[in-house]
């Protein structure tokens, strides 16, 4: 069955797809400028080089993320009608605002500490930028994360309510023989990505708020290793999830051209379960060089980084190739780009696996091998799929495909230019040329010159595609209002019926009266142990233990909030109508809870028993609010948000001290 798209789907598709592509284009131009500078072909001061490098990475991440969020939303909405349009727009607004702040921080404020904002570098600028630009950059990155989290919460809520819970939406219920028909693959992808996105968002928020705490009050000190772990968990996971968002979109678009349906199979379900595990445990390969990182984390990362390739290669890439093999594949610009994107993912993935092997990583990690591998799958995988997504929408809107000469020549330029550009990096990396430097070692400029020539060839192909897009866009604009029905899509042979979906899914409370309610009330009461005077007095002697006590106070409130909001009369009255307010609460309140833990706020209160007690009761109150909000989001989204909010408080404890 080929999904028909509604006006709201097209709006989200255009907003996210075109904005993402525009950002990609701007950032690509900055990237080429940096490469030309490394080859001594143009002159950019090191000061500006590091600014551009920071902007290039942050902008590319936000652009690719936004584009593929739109792509997945568009294809999932056809089978999950309860995906909320308003929340998609709110997510978009947060991301765009975040990008504007990042632009201001870098271009006006001069922030140049890299998109990874690794502590303590953002606060040691040697006069290159001031604290306000660090804060602006951090808030900008946080807003991009918030936009993604809003999207993930809505997707998780909608898919799990539509397909009968987390197990149903991930296909596990079907795998265990308890459901006759599986969910479509794009639903499995969307559910898995949104679950991981919420976790990564919580980790990212924790480190960003800790850095903001430090910016507000210099007494706050942060453990550098802790900061690096959280930063890379957030960054690596989000960057990884972009391609998994894209995979969900490709599950629907590729079959439109192959004429065969991408069916949910048992390996696909198992593969996605593996992907959830591996993506969340692979990040530590960024810390192989840090000898203080626990050995167990390195070992887990080694296994996860290698194992992550298995579901990708076996399930998605192999199935995609088999879908095209022997089919009457319709070769249009969209379908050519979709097909070539698989190659970028596969080759870049191999580069990543090689780099994630510890003995190899010791040689390659600080070299140009690393940008080679991630540009391989971001530029030649996601970049081509971003173009394919916009091309698909233009085909539908304009009623025609791209002209033949563009379809034939532009991909050739993209492939020759793109891979030439990337392979010069692989070679440079293997030779040991370091990454992240404005100036390369003497005698190595030739590699940058060769890369620059290939980059220009890539840009020629890229702009040829953009020119064709403009032409198709003008045609689509003239057709607007003439035909609301898009051109007839091809029929897909062998299409199987999809799992029954709830016609009007309604959220389920997090707990129902009975054993669940008894358990969480009992847990809340037991957690009040932290108010026991010897415990609370002892925690006053050590900031980290004190923060741990805050986490338990927050947990107490959260459990009470869930228990209160899960009563049938409360839940039925507020759950459907107050979802947006609940969403705002679960995002804002945990952030407020972490911002609340700075010495400048509490140091004046500790001498007064009443104020001191009020301070701690307020932490409980913030937990209560979070619990109420989470409960109104329904069972799966609610528990996920609650677990991550309490997790944020727990994570904060070991890493932040001072005061």
């Amino acid at each position: 069955m080929v999904p028909q798209t509604s006006g709201q789907q097209r709006t989200v598709g255009w907003l996210f797809g075109v904005t993402g592509l525009a950002l990609f284009t701007l950032m690509a131009l900055l990237g080429v400028a940096m490469r030309l500078e490394q080859g001594d072909l143009i002159s950019i001061s090191p000061e500006w080089f590091y600014r551009l490098m920071t902007l290039h990475a942050a902008g590319m991440l936000a652009g690719a993320l936004a584009s593929m969020m739109g792509g997945l939303w568009l294809v999932v909405r056809s089978v999950v009608p309860s995906l909320n349009f308003g929340r998609a727009i709110a997510s978009f607004a947060a991301i765009v605002t975040g990008v504007v702040l990042v632009l201001v921080a870098v271009l006006i404020g001069g922030f140049a500490a890299g998109w990874t904002f690794l502590y303590p570098l953002p606060f040691h600028s040697s006069g290159m930028w001031s604290t306000w630009s660090t804060v602006t950059f951090l808030v900008g990155m946080a807003l991009v994360g918030v936009g993604f989290v809003i999207y993930c919460i809505d997707v998780l809520k909608a898919t799990t309510e539509t397909y009968g819970g987390l197990g149903g939406a991930l296909g596990v219920t079907w795998l265990r023989g308890r459901a006759p028909i599986p969910p479509p693959p794009q639903v499995i992808a969307a559910t898995a990505v949104s679950l991981q996105g919420i976790i990564a968002g919580a980790v990212g928020t924790t480190i960003i708020v800790a850095l903001l705490d430090h910016a507000i009050d210099g007494q706050v000190t942060i453990d550098a290793l802790w900061a690096k772990n959280l930063t890379y968990f957030f960054g690596h996971t989000i960057a990884n999830l972009i391609i998994y968002l894209a995979a969900g979109m490709v599950y629907v678009l590729l079959p439109l051209y192959a004429g065969r349906q991408w069916k949910t199979s048992k390996p696909l379900v198992i593969g996605w379960l593996g992907t959830i595990t591996f993506v969340l445990t692979a990040y530590s390969h960024h810390l192989y060089m840090d000898f203080v990182q626990p050995g167990a984390a390195q070992l887990v990362s080694l296994v996860a980084s290698s194992a992550a390739a298995i579901p990708v290669a076996v399930v998605t890439i192999y199935t995609g190739m088999m879908l095209v093999w022997g089919s009457r594949y319709r070769w249009t610009l969209t379908s050519v780009l979709l097909y070539l994107g698989f190659a970028g993912w596969a080759i870049g993935g191999m580069g990543a696996v090689i780099d994630s092997l510890i003995p190899v990583n010791f040689r390659l990690h600080n070299t140009l091998w690393v940008p080679a591998h991630f540009h391989n799958y971001l530029m030649m995988g996601i970049g081509l799929w971003m173009l394919a997504f916009v091309s698909y929408m233009l085909e539908r809107a304009s009623g025609r495909t791209a002209r033949k000469r563009v379809t034939l020549l532009a991909p050739v330029a993209l492939i020759v230019g793109g891979y030439g550009f990337i392979f010069s990096w692989y070679v440079s990396g293997a030779l040991g040329i370091p990454r992240r430097w404005a100036v390369h070692p003497p005698g190595t400029q030739d590699y940058s010159i060769v890369a620059s020539i290939f980059a220009i060839v890539f840009l020629l192909g890229f702009f040829a595609v953009l020119a064709e897009f403009i032409s198709m866009g003008r045609q689509a604009w003239r057709r607007r209002g003439l035909a609301t029905t898009p051109s007839a899509p091809p029929q897909i042979a062998g299409a199987s019926p999809e799992a029954d979906i709830a016609s009007s899914p309604s959220p389920q409370p997090m707990v129902k009266a009975g054993f669940g309610l008894i358990t969480i009330v009992a847990m809340a009461v037991a957690a009040m142990f932290v108010f026991f005077p010897p415990i609370s007095d002892a925690s006053e002697l050590n900031v980290k233990y004190h923060h741990l006590v805050h986490a338990f106070q927050f947990f107490t409130g959260a459990m009470l909030g869930v228990a209160a909001a899960s009563s049938p009369s409360f839940f039925n009255r507020f759950a459907p109508r107050w979802t947006n307010a609940a969403l705002a609460i679960v995002i804002v309140v945990p952030v407020a809870m972490l911002l609340y833990m700075i010495p400048a706020i509490y140091s004046g209160l500790v001498d007064n028993d009443f104020l001191h007690a009020s301070y701690h009761l307020f932490v409980v109150f913030l937990g209560l609010l979070t619990g109420l909000g989470a409960a109104l989001l329904g069972r799966v989204a609610g528990w996920t948000i609650l677990a991550t909010a309490v997790g944020m408080a727990l994570m904060f404890a070991p890493g932040v001290s001072g005061g």
Partner: protein, 149 residues
């Protein structure tokens, strides 16, 4: 009030009653667990206190700083390394480099780190101290890491 409203009202009462029962049971169980935790804590701390009081010799052994913590190594560490490293015995709390109380490096590891700059990754400058000074700081760190307050 018509019949359906009466039925609905009756169902609401039933829901509330079940919810109230669940809350009360939860509070009861939670209070029991809380009481058990408080009692365990009290017994545990009193017991530990008795033990500590009965073994003053052990306490004094712990309190005495190792010989390596005395001397010029400590001073050199505070001025050269303390900005970046935490070492309780020296009273430094730098958070840029690894926490030495957690790492507990041996003498050879410290000497190597001073010589090549950490692991040689460039994060720490190599050769911050040389000769006797490097040896004194290595002895001091190896002897004091993880022992301070």
């Amino acid at each position: 009030m018509n019949e359906s409203k009466i039925r609905k009202s009756g169902k609401d009462d039933e829901d509330w009653s079940k919810t109230a029962q669940a809350w009360l049971t939860g509070i009861g169980i939670g209070a029991l667990i809380l009481a058990a935790m408080v009692v365990s804590y009290e017994i545990g701390t009193n017991h530990t206190g008795d033990q500590a009081a009965s073994t003053p010799a052990a306490e004094s052994t712990v309190a005495a700083p190792p010989a390596a913590t005395q001397g010029p190594g400590r001073e050199l560490f505070v001025t050269t390394c303390g900005t970046c490293h935490t070492l309780s015995e020296a009273g430094t709390s730098g958070a840029v480099g690894p926490n030495l109380d957690d790492l507990k490096p041996d003498r050879q590891m410290v000497e190597s780190a001073i010589k090549i700059g950490g692991t040689g990754s460039g994060a720490m400058p190599p050769g911050l101290l040389e000769g006797t000074e490097a040896t004194e700081v290595s002895d001091y760190v190896a002897g004091s890491a993880g022992t301070g307050g």
